[in-house]
Amino acid sequence: MIIFMAHKLGLKVIGEGVETSEQAKFLTENGCDMLQGYYFSHPLSEDELLCYLRKKPILNN
């Protein structure tokens, strides 16, 4: 519902605190535009971040 209303107002929605693939799937199916959480990555140092950015893909669709 929040996601639907946000889109009506022209806002993007980030789902955060994602820890499992089920949560990622749920938020994706409910229209989230972006996702954040330990399921994808914990907070990284600068070096770790560059490593993370170099490896792809992130999701196995």
Binding site: G15, G17, D33, M34, L35, E46, Y52, K56
Partner: protein, 180 residues
Amino acid sequence: MLENGLRKILYKDELSLYFQPIIDLQSNKVITIEGLLRWNHPVMGWIPPAKFIPIAEENGLIIPIGTWVIEQACRQLQMLASNGYDYINVAVNLSIRQFYQPNFVSMVANIISYKRINPERLHFEITESMTADVQLTTAILKDLKSLGVYISIDDFGTGYSSLSYLRSFPINTLKIDVLS
């Protein structure tokens, strides 16, 4: 003990910013990274922001810390651009005391100009608790937005939960927690 340590935090290099990726579901790429504070205390080890940010809000140290965070975000944007990731945004949290400083917007404008970053890549996250005074919040957000930066509301739905006031705020993004 925490408060004394906190006063030296910036010049002793004990504070660092870590970055959590935010994935864009359309492109399946990291589109933004959120900068999160870490304090490595020489005796007590890692202290979570939830423990020291309230103290820093109380004693005003949040102002220099907050400025440092924005500078670090801009430094990270430079680093990303020089590594070929000029499309990635850096988001940082604003604290309530920092946000209501009279010179806050001009301070941000200064940093953007001397760091020579693309303002569109700099994203600020505010919380619902900072938006209680709708008129004042709208005015500050409009000034801030005029610099070209993006604004998100963090943890949406946990506070005032009013979608109606969102119409008056010049914001781009809502963040919702999966568990809320």
